[in-house]
Every structure is written in structure tokens, then in C-alpha cells.
Symmetry: C2
């Protein structure tokens, strides 16, 4: 199968290459594209080094599957080129935010809503990193007990802002004064935390916070869930953490919740102890710990959820979608 990857030289692009290898996706021909400045670079795949070319609308001929990899919040190349790829007969899996909320576009976490792929119209959206781990953890709860309310505060790593985010943190940590000419963040991030991810939008919430509201409702098919999010950048290279408080529709014991989470697909649940971003970077699962009942509310619980934002939050989820499409013969 001819597979294409737009944005191959970015952090998520490289992570998609790794995920295609590790998940043994049946790639025949592989075509890589990059922006003007990065075109020409060679990237490793199955022991070869493949040159990334500059993208143009006629490049998609013969591709059956094309990944568009934008990082968190980025307006991607998909607005400009996804239509050309679809018209050329490819199925597009878009990691960017451009199409996620379009009604005709499935927004899919394979463990949660694989059925949404049915009848797709050529483009599947990969959800935002912070949404993926949230819904992976809470979908089994939603299915069995209902979910009324989510209050989530995030601890998001700088790689969510792409290579510029990583370089900004590394530069700042090496220099008392930031030598980075174009820092990825509005304030110093080394030795600091910044309560803004994306632009400020309606009602004082940021773009990242609204994504968690709208995408969660779309993926869980439940527009009544209230999601109150605060998205915060922390000086961590890879791995997003989330402190999640939630209220169920039905009363449930802590033991019931523990059983639901320990059987949740794609979730590693620890009843004791906890996970931190540094420990789980490089892994594809969503890690849930510190599940506890609210002593004051029989329908409320808290948990701590960590995932690698480049893997399950982006590349691994995208390649899982590709596998689902392939197995279900949804690729032409």
C-alpha cells in the first residue's frame, strides 16, 4: 500500500514513522513531505532513509492513505491539501485541529468510538492529545455509569508545541537568559508553569480548553457532559498529565470504578502508586492512577492520567486508526 506522510520532519511526523514500524503497518511505498525549509531531509524507516519532498497537490496520485501531522493547535497543511489527497483516492488521517469538529468528519479514539469510522468520507480526524487520554480513561465510565461533569486541569509538556517547544525549554534550561529568538511560549517555561495553551477565545477559555469540551462530547456522543478545563504548560519534555475530577450519572462504589478502569482497553490502571510523565514517555498506553472516591459526594471521583502526547496523544492513535480502516476494508 502506498502511504504518504505530510509534515514528516516534525516531532509528530517522526513519531508516526516510528508507530508505522512498531505497529507493523503494511506500508508498501512510503512518500514523505515536508515544508520548504525541511524538504530534502532524509528520515529513517525500516532501515532505509527516505527523502522528504516538498508538498504539491499532484503528489498524492496512487496514495491509498495519507497522514497529515500537525502539532497541538497548529493550523495544518490539511486545509490546503487534504481535499487533493481525498480526490486522488486516498483516505486522510489528520492530526491537526482543522477538521475535527466538522460534522461529516469522524473524530476517533480506536478504543472508544471505532464505529464512527463507518461511512467515512475520506477524512478521519485524530483528536487533540489532551482529549485522547481524557476520553480513553473515562469512556468505560461513561458507557456504564454515565458522565455528568468533568473538571480537568492539565500538566502539558512542551513537545505539544512541537520542536519549537522542545528547543525553547532546552535553550532556557541551558541559559539564564533565553537565547531562543522565537520562543514557543509567551513566558519563560523553564522553572515555571504557564496557564495558557492556544489563543484566548470565548468566555476567557483558551483554544486548548475548548477543544477538550467539544471533542470529548463528540467522541462520547454526549452533548450533555459538562467539561470544565484548565490547560497548563509545564517544563516537561514529553508526556501530558491530567488531574481529572468527574461525576457519574449513577452512584457507584470505588471498587466498581476500579474494575471498569482495570479492564479499559488501552489503559494501564494502577490501583496503588502513580505514574509520572518521565516514566511513561515512549509508551503507547494511557496510564491511570490515584483513582479515589470523593468522600463528600457519592457520584464523584478523581484520578490522575498520564500519556505520551506524541504517541497515544498523536502518532500511535493515528496509526491505530489506520489499522482499523485497513482491517475493516475502509481504505480503497
Amino acid at each position: 500500500m502506498a502511504v504518504g506522510l505530510v509534515g514528516a520532519t516534525g516531532l509528530v511526523g517522526r513519531s508516526i514513522l516510528q508507530a508505522l514500524e512498531q505497529q507493523r503497518f503494511p506500508v508498501g511505498e512510503l512518500r514523505l513531505w515536508a515544508g520548504r525549509r525541511s524538504a530534502g531531509r532524509r528520515l529513517p524507516f525500516r532501515g532505509r532513509r527516505i527523502r522528504a519532498r516538498e508538498l504539491g497537490p499532484s503528489e498524492f496520485a496512487g496514495c491509498r492513505l495519507v497522514f497529515f501531522s500537525g502539532t497541538e493547535g497548529e493550523k495544518g497543511a490539511s486545509r490546503a491539501f487534504a481535499r487533493a489527497a481525498i480526490d486522488a483516492g486516498a483516505v486522510v488521517i489528520d492530526n491537526g485541529a482543522d477538521y475535527r469538529m466538522e460534522p461529516w468528519v469522524p473524530l476517533v479514539v480506536p478504543e472508544v468510538n471505532p464505529g464512527d469510522l463507518k461511512g467515512h468520507r475520506g477524512l478521519i480526524a485524530n483528536p487533540n492529545c489532551s482529549t485522547i487520554q481524557l476520553v480513553a480513561a473515562l469512556a468505560p465510565v461513561h458507557r456504564r455509569l454515565g458522565l455528568k461533569r468533568i473538571v480537568v486541569s492539565t500538566y502539558q509538556s512542551v513537545s505539544g508545541a512541537g520542536r519549537a517547544g522542545l528547543e525553547t525549554l532546552r535553550d532556557e534550561m541551558q541559559n539564564a537568559k533565553c537565547r531562543n529568538q522565537n520562543p514557543a511560549f509567551d513566558r519563560p517555561i523553564a522553572g515555571n508553569v504557564i496557564p495558557q495553551i492556544g489563543d484566548f477565545g470565548d468566555s476567557g477559555y483558551t483554544a486548548e480548553e475548548w477543544k477538550m469540551v467539544h471533542e470529548t462530547r463528540k467522541i462520547l456522543h454526549d452533548s450533555r457532559i459538562t467539561v470544565n478545563a484548565t490547560a497548563v504548560r509545564v517544563p516537561v519534555e514529553v508526556g501530558h498529565a491530567e488531574s481529572i475530577y468527574f461525576e457519574t450519572g449513577e452512584k457507584a462504589s470505588l471498587g466498581r470504578l476500579e474494575r471498569l478502569l482495570s479492564r479499559a482497553p488501552g489503559v494501564v490502571f494502577s490501583k496503588n502508586g502513580y505514574h509520572t510523565p518521565a516514566e511513561i514517555a515512549g509508551r503507547d498506553q494511557v496510564f491511570v492512577s490515584r483513582l479515589r472516591a470523593d468522600p463528600q459526594n457519592p457520584r464523584a471521583f478523581s484520578l490522575w492520567c498520564v500519556a505520551d502526547n506524541l504517541r497515544k496523544g498523536a502518532a500511535a492513535n493515528a496509526v491505530q486508526i489506520a489499522w482499523l480502516l485497513y482491517k475493516n476494508r475502509m481504505i480503497n
Copy 2:
């Protein structure tokens, strides 16, 4: 006035010395005490250098005021020595956690519950750092509108764990492998976040999380407020941040909340923009920003709250208590 300071060489102890100078507290004689390993060190105060001696129960004679400075969660010297200081005629202001929840002990944030100092019995407790900034921000809301529920996730700096916390972070940042023989945290903190502060206790909540529940209720005189806390350590040197979601008893407009917070004593409220820990380290106020209404619940709001944990979270609050006692002739 003869003033004593137990734990003078610690981070909070040194911060109390600074606060006594900066708040121009009427210190006549100053006696400093430290643990065995730190006794003998000389500390700067008003241009002199004063030697810290080892503490013994007969050291308090003549002291009218004694500060006990423990860091976050530490079992302090106050259990061993506070009674001797009180019996010697001193009023004790204890930064440690040992006495905070004793019914006879006032737990005071001067902007919030100064009246609790009346009829004190010789010992006043300084609340936990993460509680002080929470109640300073929310007390005006509680007073005018009532507070039903608080859901808070913290971003707490390593200095909350004292000098050992600071040194652990600095060591880890200089070395890929931690050379610190006794790291202050159970996991690496550089480039990481750790969802545990204090030991795990009842129901899976940590000691730090329970402090925020019990101390908030005690300070606000309202045992019906539900507080759900998640306390997280982040790789920041000084300054704690909190993502706070709260529900009021009465409905209120965002404008009403903005007016309440902009008039709140000791609070710097920013209607636009936000504060980060690195910016406000060294300042004595509580900084509140990102106030927003929950679009889905007319009684719910969110805000972002930052304060210097060594200053308003510890030393500055303790010296403010001392001033209140002094002005109200509550020191013998």
C-alpha cells in the same frame, strides 16, 4: 520586644527574617535557634549577623513572641518546644502542621479571619501554603455568595519541601543522573511532575490534599464546603500555582465576581492576562487571574491563583499575624 525564631536557618526561617525586616516589625532582641547541624551559623538581620544557637527548653525566658518555622508537612520542633515557649510567657506562631487542627488553636490568614485571634491561648497556627492562597482568593466569594464546592489542582514548587527540595531539583537539572544521595522526592522532579505531596492517607488522598480540605473549612468557619484537591509537585523553585474550580451558593455574574476579587485584601487580581510563579516569586500578595464563568453552570467559576509559597504561603503570613497580635495588644 524579644522575638525568637526556631528553625532560623531553613528556607522559611530565613524568609521570616526577611519579612520581619521588610514589614518593620518592632523587634528589640532577636534570638535564633537551629537544629544541631545548623547551630552556629550566622544569619543577616538589619545589617548585623546573628548566630543561631541550639534550642533547649530554657532558652525562651523573656521572649514575648516565638516563631516556629517548619516547611510544608514537616513535623516541627513545636511539638517538643512550643509548650515551653508558651509557659515562658511567649506567644507562639507555628508554621508547622502539628497544631493547626487543634480546636483551641486559631488558624489565621490575616485578610480572612483576623477575629479568630481573639482569646488565643498562646499559640497561633500558620496555615499550609497551598491553603493560604486558596482561602485568600475565595474568602470574599464565600462571604458574599457562599461557597458550596471547590475542586483544586495544584502546581507546587520544590521549595515547599524546604532546602532539600531546592537542592534535589538543582542537582537533577545539572546531572542526568541524580547525584543527590537523599532526594526530597520519590521520583525525579526535573523535567517531570509528581502527583504526591506528603504521605498517602485516608481514602487515597495525600496529607497535603487533606490539609486543604480541613484547613479551608476551619479558616472559613464552614464545614459544609466540599473541597476536592489534587496536590502535584512541579519543577519550579519558588511559587505555588492552583487551578481552582468553585461553585457559589448564590448565582452571580462574572462582573460581580470580578468586583469582589479586585477589592479582595492581599489579592492582586488581573482581569486580563495571567501570572506565573517565576514572575511573582519574592512578592507577598496572592495573584489571581483567568477568572471565568462556567458556560454550563451559572453558579460555577474557574480561576488561576499564584503565590510565593515561602512568603505569603509561610513567612509573610506569619509576620502579618505577629503584627495583628501586636497592634491588638494580644502579646503579653
